[in-house]
């Protein structure tokens, strides 16, 4: 849509870490039950003005129900939803200063692109000349100038997606809700549109809440992610924190690939802990504390790209060093993925960036290898 001009993107503003900031949207103890089924279970989260907030989870985790409660299509069974301090829980959708972009786009089939976009403004009895001006602005923003007089069935999927976006933005809502907005697009177009969405969001300064099951999409576009499972929010954090410091095995395994090794705490230091793991067959040292007693069961999570693979042994093979045999190699072009079978039988994955052109593999099938990692690059999880 718009060329990336001006200064590069800065994402250093973190209102959620600023105690002086008051939240824009407060979801306070919200539950939604359909009969005996609990779709959303006591969710509390604060969203700040100008955020691009993602609700991420597998299908059926309650993320769409939560979004529909924000839009007003469902009423919470319990709890409150506040926008700028005002309780919105029982305000019907047509009176909320909130707009939604639907997964199916939900364009009105009997109206042209123009009338689709103008519909919301007409409902508010905006003067005619202003409607014309604002619709034209929106059509330009989403680059549909040549398609204004067309009906939805004469548009391609990507164009419809733009009409849906323009229609939901034209009223300048306080919050835009996006329900899997890019789900129907193919991969290339989806990636391109993600960046366009971010540009538009920055340009208009509207708070976006997006629902997605695609973790890459959530990581790319959002300022913060709420990872959901079975109606509960498991962790709310920035994409980097979610990836590097997941608070549970569920989050670690849902976001990206991870190796998890079971073990027991043997030693608790001030800035390190030591773990004995039968699966790893070595002592594991992690560079951060954990809320667990000595002897407690924990899981150590190591991302494949943080696991170094080598055929020569390191200086110290007693700590953070596992031995195994290369079982399988996946070549992805930019990366090579090694599946290594440890002596305990446990499979772990390590990946290497292919920095030089692959002519001959330094490490190949059935090689005996050493897997090492820094104490700071693994995470100890208690649940």
């Amino acid at each position: 849509m718009t060329e990336a001009g001006g200064a590069p993107r800065h994402k250093t503003v973190e209102p959620w870490n600023d105690p002086g900031q008051s939240p824009y949207i407060q979801i306070a103890g919200v539950s939604k039950r359909f009969g005996a089924f609990v779709a959303v279970d006591n969710v509390s989260v604060d969203i700040f003005k100008g955020e691009f907030f993602a609700l991420l989870g597998p299908s059926g985790c309650g993320k769409t129900t939560l979004l529909r409660m924000l839009a007003g299509f469902e009423e919470p069974s319990q709890g409150r939803i506040m926008l700028e301090g005002e309780d919105m829980s029982t305000v019907p959708p047509y009176q909320r200063p909130v707009n939604m972009m639907f997964q199916s786009y939900a364009l009105f089939p009997h109206m042209t692109v123009e009338s689709n976009i103008a519909f919301g403004l007409k409902q508010d009895r905006v003067p005619k000349d202003e409607i014309v001006r604002r619709v034209a602005e929106m059509i330009q923003l989403v680059q549909l100038d040549d398609f204004a007089k067309r009906k939805p069935h004469q548009l391609s999927g990507g164009q419809r997606q733009r009409v849906a976006l323009a229609r939901s933005l034209v009223k300048k809502p306080k919050m835009l809700l996006l329900d899997e907005p890019l789900g129907a697009l193919d991969k290339k177009l989806r990636e391109q549109t993600q960046f366009e969405l971010m540009n538009i969001q920055e340009e208009l300064g509207i708070t976006f809440v997006i629902v997605t099951h695609d973790q890459e999409e959530a990581m790319t576009v959002s300022s913060r992610i709420a990872v959901m499972d079975h109606g509960r929010i498991i962790q709310v954090a920035t994409p980097a924190e979610i990836y590097e410091y997941p608070n549970s095995r569920y989050v670690a395994e849902f976001i990206g690939d991870v190796n998890t090794l079971e073990g027991r705490i043997t030693q608790l230091g001030t800035d390190f802990i030591e773990i004995k793991s039968a699966q790893a067959a070595c002592r594991i040292r992690a560079g951060h504390g954990v809320e667990a007693p000595v002897g407690g069961a924990v899981w150590v999570a190591i991302r494949p790209e943080k696991l170094n693979i080598s055929v020569t042994p390191p200086d110290d093979t007693s700590v953070n060093c596992m031995r195994g045999e290369v079982w399988d190699i996946g070549y992805l072009g930019n990366l090579s993925i090694y599946h290594v079978r440890l002596e305990s039988g446990q499979m772990v994955t390590s990946c290497l960036t292919n920095q030089t052109r692959l002519v001959e593999r330094a490490i190949t099938w059935e090689d005996s290898v050493y897997l090492t990692w820094a104490p700071s690059s693994c995470v100890v999880l208690t649940g």
Binding site: F73, P92, Y94, Q95, F108, P109, S156
Partner: protein, 273 residues
């Protein structure tokens, strides 16, 4: 599949269509007969169509029939629309199965039974039989056709477009008028046309429920035929066939076009950006 022409295909086609349409074709041909004798061809003429205009009894009956058809199909469309909405929108309410069964029952109910029961009811409440009773009877049996057509359209209706309208500030009532109604309009129009033609055609139920001064065209034709078929009857029947055919064709074209458009939408949605 063998798509070529074979004698077997040709013969079955001719026989099939001949079986269906030969009588009607004969009726149409003889309506242009010069002779007064129905079975003797004496050259082409349109004089019986002219004679129709002189026949006040037939013209009155035709006028009654059109009024009945117009009023009954309009009311049946409204009632059928409401019933169709109810069936497709209100989920599994108490008695839904019974209700939907009762909506569809008149489709398969013998006309004689429907007519007789309506007659008994009008007699029981001592309602004077005439234009109003015929109209009510026609509403009764044609609204279920509208309900079926509307319901099948609503089943494939994407409800998120209604939610989108509400989300953009449109209250539910206005959403129905501005969004739902225009989108399902082809189904409503074809339902109306269907009930209009059903009402035009009906003989049995009208005979049971009519009274003095409200003789419909099919009844008039039937009673005249008992005194011998005249080419005049052929002429009026030809006109009736024409009207019904046009109605049915328009109704099915509307439904087809709606379907084709949706199919095209789906194709485009599946296509690349």
């Amino acid at each position: 599949m063998n798509r070529g022409f074979t004698w077997f295909n040709g013969v079955s086609l001719v026989l099939g269509f001949g079986f269906l349409y030969l009588p009607i074709l004969l009726l149409i041909v003889y309506s242009f007969n010069e002779s007064k004798l129905v079975t003797v061809w004496a050259g082409f003429s349109t004089k019986w169509y002219g004679a129709l205009l002189e026949n006040q009894g037939l013209l009155d009956a035709a006028w009654v029939t059109f009024r009945v058809a117009f009023v009954s199909s309009t009311v049946a469309t409204i009632l059928g629309l409401v019933a169709g909405l109810m069936l497709s929108r209100f989920g599994a309410f108490r008695g839904r199965v019974l209700f939907s069964g009762m909506i569809y029952a008149p489709l398969v109910m013998p006309e004689v039974i429907t007519g007789l029961s309506l007659l008994l009811m009008f007699v029981a409440i001592s309602f004077d039989r005439g234009f109003v009773t015929v109209t009510i009877a026609h509403i009764t049996f044609s609204m279920c056709y509208v309900a079926v057509v509307v319901q099948s359209r609503l089943i494939s209706f994407d409800r998120s477009i209604e939610e989108a309208a509400m989300d953009l500030g449109c209250p539910p009532g206005r959403t129905f008028l501005l969004i739902t109604l225009p989108v399902i309009m082809p189904a409503i129009v074809s339902g109306w046309l269907l009930s209009f033609t059903l009402s035009l055609d009906d003989l049995v139920i009208a005979s049971f429920t009519t009274g003095p001064g409200a003789t419909t065209l099919p009844m008039k034709i039937y009673s005249q035929v008992r005194l011998g078929v005249t080419p005049e009857i052929n002429a009026v029947s030809t006109i009736l066939v024409g009207i019904v055919a046009v109605g049915v064709v328009i109704a099915s074209v509307l439904a087809k076009r709606d379907e084709a458009r949706r199919a095209q939408d789906e194709r485009l949605a599946a296509a690349a950006p």
